[in-house]
């Protein structure tokens, strides 16, 4: 819906955002500059962190900011501040204008975006905004007790936060978004094993820390006294977090700018079937399990974009700039200008199917169940080989059953090959990891996953 409706955060009301913008625009006008764009944001974030079965770090922050981009004769630059009084606003506009006037003109520079109506998903929940240090601590205490009762040690976080962002320009553009977010993560550690679970949701009422504590504790119990098997190619069952963190490394390349720069693995592959028939991927901010704004860094509404359909790479994403340069239409995925990387997907949804993780295990004669992956880095940008480690719950599957825990592996895996070797997909869920932003992805059963080394635990 237009910026006049939808949820609103008391941290930054629409009226306050307009007030700050008008103050900035007035300063710009006095400096002889008509065209400016501003992002006005505010947020609170609190995180209760625990380890060794006690809360050891417990923090909260509140902040706001104003980021101003000036546009003068096809030149542009940006300045930001968190000082939102009159003096702070004056200074940041002056800085933006000064930086802009020192640039060389860019013939491809576009005028400010035209006003657009954005259908804004409702992502602000009172239950999350109302969380307190005590309510988080009580939930953490219950989770710790569950892990302690298994004679294990718990570490993790429970965070809650609220944010609001308005993007305005002197063309009359005004879009606004408010949302809340809650996240719980827990590691349960036994003598020689560990287990992990994590979940995020806009609504804290949907988080059940105790359930996740029990999952982590069971994984730690089931993987005790881990054995070691030789590295090599194995069938793996990747839980959703492992899929997210690994496959999530692909998506920065689904960018028209990355393609134009020839830094994307999709260079020369657009329109080709490079993944398996069972792989379809979308960028869809409107998916009910997604989060984030329904507009991009210039206020352009985000479109739902099919990136991969039945293994064929169909589309990449466009900002206004790359769309104009390449004769395409913006998909609403541009980053705030000026920037080097152009555009990126923010709301990945990988289509799932109906095979449960239990069924994947039951149909595996010999393979490895992976809870989580860690320290994933790119080895080869065009083959898309990634390296990383398994962590916190790696299991041998034998004859359709989880047989025992395993010492952790290093992998060097080509992701194009991985998405061609998928034998089964679970229903897609909102997954959280540590190496990629949250996405909606299924668990996957994959054959010939390439483990190259084993570590000591």
């Amino acid at each position: 819906m237009p910026a006049s409706g939808g949820p609103e955060s008391a941290l930054l009301t629409r009226a306050r955002a307009r007030e700050i913008f008008h103050a900035a625009a007035s300063v710009a006008q006095m400096l002889g500059v008509r065209d400016i764009e501003a992002m006005v944001g505010a947020g609170t974030h609190a995180l209760t962190r625990f380890a060794n079965n006690t809360i050891h770090q417990n923090v909260a922050e509140r902040s706001g900011y104003l980021s101003v981009r000036a546009l003068v004769d096809k030149r542009t630059a940006r300045a930001s501040t968190n000082r939102l009084d009159a003096e702070g606003i004056r200074r940041v506009v002056e800085e933006a204008v000064t930086l802009t006037r020192l640039q060389t003109p860019d013939p491809e520079s576009l005028p400010l975006a035209a006003p657009a109506d954005v259908v804004e998903p409702a992502r602000w929940f009172q239950q999350t905004a109302a969380m307190t240090p005590t309510s988080r601590a009580e939930a953490v205490r219950e989770a710790i007790r569950a892990v302690e009762s298994s004679s294990q040690t718990a570490a993790g976080i429970y965070s809650t936060g609220e944010s609001a962002l308005a993007l305005l320009n002197t063309n009359g553009g005004f879009v606004y978004h408010a949302e809340t977010m809650a996240q719980f993560s827990i590691t349960a550690m036994a003598q020689d094993s560990s287990g992990w679970a994590k979940k995020s949701s806009g609504n804290a009422a949907e988080l059940t820390p105790l359930d996740f504590a029990l999952i982590a504790a069971k994984k730690a119990t089931d993987s005790r006294a881990p054995g070691e098997i030789a590295p090599g190619r194995y069938t793996v069952v990747l839980e959703p977090s492992a899929v997210l963190d690994l496959v999530g490394q692909l998506f920065g390349d689904f960018s028209a700018t990355a393609l134009r720069d020839e830094r994307s693995f999709l260079t020369g592959r657009l329109g080709e079937k490079i993944f398996g028939e069972n792989i379809s991927i979308f960028d869809d901010v409107y998916h009910p399990l997604q989060s984030g704004t329904a507009f991009d860094g210039e206020g352009v509404p985000r479109q739902r974009v099919p990136l991969v359909e039945k293994g064929v790479v169909r589309n990449v994403l466009y900002s206004r700039q790359t769309a104009a340069q390449l004769g395409a239409k913006s998909t609403g995925h541009g980053s705030p200008l000026p920037n080097k990387y152009g555009e990126a997907p923010m709301n990945i949804v990988i289509a799932g199917s109906d095979t449960s993780v239990e069924e994947m295990i039951a149909t595996t004669e010999r393979g490895i169940l992976v809870t989580r992956l860690w320290y994933i880095r790119e080895v080869d940008p065009y083959q898309k080989i990634m390296t990383g480690m398994t962590r916190d719950g790696t299991f041998l599957i034998e004859n359709g059953k989880v047989a025992r825990g395993l010492k952790n592996f290093r992998f060097n895996q080509n992701l194009i090959e991985l998405l061609s070797n998928v034998e089964g997909l679970s229903p897609a869920v909102r997954a959280s990891g540590e190496e990629a932003f949250d996405m909606v992805v299924p668990a996957m059963k994959v054959h010939d996953f390439n483990f190259t080394e084993v570590t000591r635990f």
């Binding site: 995180l47 770090q57 909260a60 509140r62 968190n82 020192l102 976080i157 020839e262 020369g268 080869d380």
Partner: protein, 484 residues
């Protein structure tokens, strides 16, 4: 600023807590970059705020705000205490801090040229010159250049009476040439990956790096890599340039020696450490020529980990970590030092801005120079010489690592005989350091800056320093990144 910080301390102490400190920070930064002849980024930002850390009922609380009005400060103080009291709901024992003196000090890091005195158009003129030089080579398909500058002033006040006013300037500069051809992307960076070199310096760093002069060579190497042979999969001696060795130190020494990791407080995210307490003064971490220090003092050099005081008011110190190959020291905080019975923190608590709590972070963790000449380091019958990091990964206890580099050279009888592409090496941390057989002398030692070290929840990004000179390691596994 000092009055505001003291007011915040008063507002906190008034609530009857047992300890509090306040960090009021003002940061200014500038980022200028180019890509293929156009401006990539031209931005500046300023940020001001304060963080209040409090010990009450034996537990920690922390609240940060950028509302520096008296109402905003009172609210933050009240919230910090409320949070500490909530933390106490799960308390196992009271937090204890190793003793520390109070200090009243003003300190500014030495610079020759204030980076903010150089106009942005001059920054851009330099970057566009480098860009043009890189793209003069027709094989270069993408050229990126960047400059980053920051000024950070922090007022630290604490309930033991410290008042420390500290200002640090950091600068960074570098560029990368990419070449795409026949389904292969190669790149070369100068003087390092991660945006180049970063130090506690002013604009003089940019002048020292001779960026423009090195652009043609870097462009040529990026393009030549396409025709180079693939680095084989085998076990050979490996020689690392000082920047790659700096990252090797960071990952396989710097992180494992963080005492908070050892004690489990990072277990959910960054992980733990193989350096359990029983290994102190017993583990042969490296060969006898390996000596590593953690040194935040200016005498060590202008590193990203150089300062006068850490973020809990402890003076910069130098601590031996590995002495003649033996593991002899951790990085500590006041809390962790107390927990393991040490008399004093060695001053490594650092926070990523006003909105974050200090954590144990690397300062400058450096391999001391050796005694060999460069000819002796390269004097192997056969070795692979690797330069400039391309990928890096290590397990969550810091045993198993794998690094990829941008370029390698096969060395035979001390001479480079051919270029190799896609080099990588892997191993176990202690086995690697025990295989060290040659370390070049102080004339080849460089203090590198790593600007992107992540740790903590919420995640904090910190700049760390790592000094090293080219070194040789015997019989290292190479090439497994492309194996299978």
């Amino acid at each position: 600023m000092k009055d505001t910080a003291l007011n915040a301390l008063d507002a906190t102490v008034r609530r009857g807590i047992s300890y509090a400190d306040v960090r009021l920070i003002e940061t200014e930064d500038r980022n200028v970059s180019t890509k293929n002849g156009k401006i990539g980024q031209a931005s500046s930002s300023v940020s001001q705020g304060l963080g209040i850390r409090v010990l009450d009922r034996g537990s920690w609380g922390f609240a940060a705000t950028d509302d520096l009005s008296s109402g905003g400060i009172e609210a933050a103080a009240a919230l910090a205490v409320e949070i500490a009291q909530a933390s106490a709901l799960t308390k196992k024992h009271d937090v204890a801090l190793a003793p520390e003196q109070k200090y009243e000090v003003e300190w500014t890091s030495p610079i020759r040229i204030d980076p903010f005195s150089i106009p942005v158009d001059r920054n851009l003129a330099l970057l566009f010159s480098i860009d043009a030089e890189l793209r003069r080579n027709p094989g270069v398909t993408l050229a990126e250049t960047a400059l980053v500058f920051a000024r950070n002033r922090q007022i630290f006040v604490s309930s033991i009476g410290s008042l420390i006013d500290q200002t640090r300037y950091t600068s960074g500069a570098g560029f990368t040439a990419f070449s795409f051809r026949d389904g292969e992307i190669q790149k070369r960076s100068y003087p390092n990956s991660f945006g180049g070199q970063h130090q506690l310096k002013g604009y003089e760093l940019v002048d020292e790096l001779k960026l423009l002069e090195n652009a043609p060579r870097i462009a040529e190497e990026a393009v030549a890599l396409h025709a180079a042979e693939q680095c084989p999969e085998d076990q050979f001696d490996v020689i690392l340039d000082s920047s790659q060795l700096g990252l090797q130190i960071h990952e396989s020494v710097g992180h494992p020696i963080e005492l908070d990791r050892v004690l489990g407080t990072e277990a959910n995210y960054a992980g733990m450490s193989f350096l359990t307490l029983d290994k102190l003064n017993h583990l042969q971490y490296g060969s006898e020529m390996v000596n590593v220090v953690c040194d935040a003092r200016l005498e060590h050099g202008p590193g990203l980990g150089t300062f006068a005081f850490d973020d809990e008011g402890v003076p910069a110190q130098s601590t031996d970590i590995i002495r003649n190959g033996l593991f002899v020291g951790y990085m500590t905080s006041r809390e962790t030092a107390s927990a393991v019975g040490q008399k004093r923190s060695n001053g490594t608590m650092r926070a990523d801005g006003w909105a974050r709590i200090p954590l144990i972070r690397m300062t400058n963790v450096s391999l001391k120079p050796g005694r060999q000449s460069l000819d002796e380091v390269f004097g192997a019958d056969h070795a692979i010489y690797m330069q400039t990091n391309k990928s890096w990964s290590i397990d969550d206890k810091r045993y198993n690592f794998q690094f990829g580099c941008e370029i390698a050279w096969e060395i035979r009888n001390g001479k480079s005989v051919r270029m190799l592409k896609n080099p990588s090496y892997s191993g176990i941390s202690t086995e690697f350091w025990n295989s060290c057989v040659a370390i070049a002398g102080p004339e080849h030692w460089i203090l590198w800056g790593t600007p992107n070290c992540g740790k903590g929840q919420p995640e904090q990004v910190m700049g760390t320093g790592h000094g090293a000179s080219p070194s040789r390691f015997r019989n290292i596994k190479i090439g497994s990144a492309y194996a299978g």
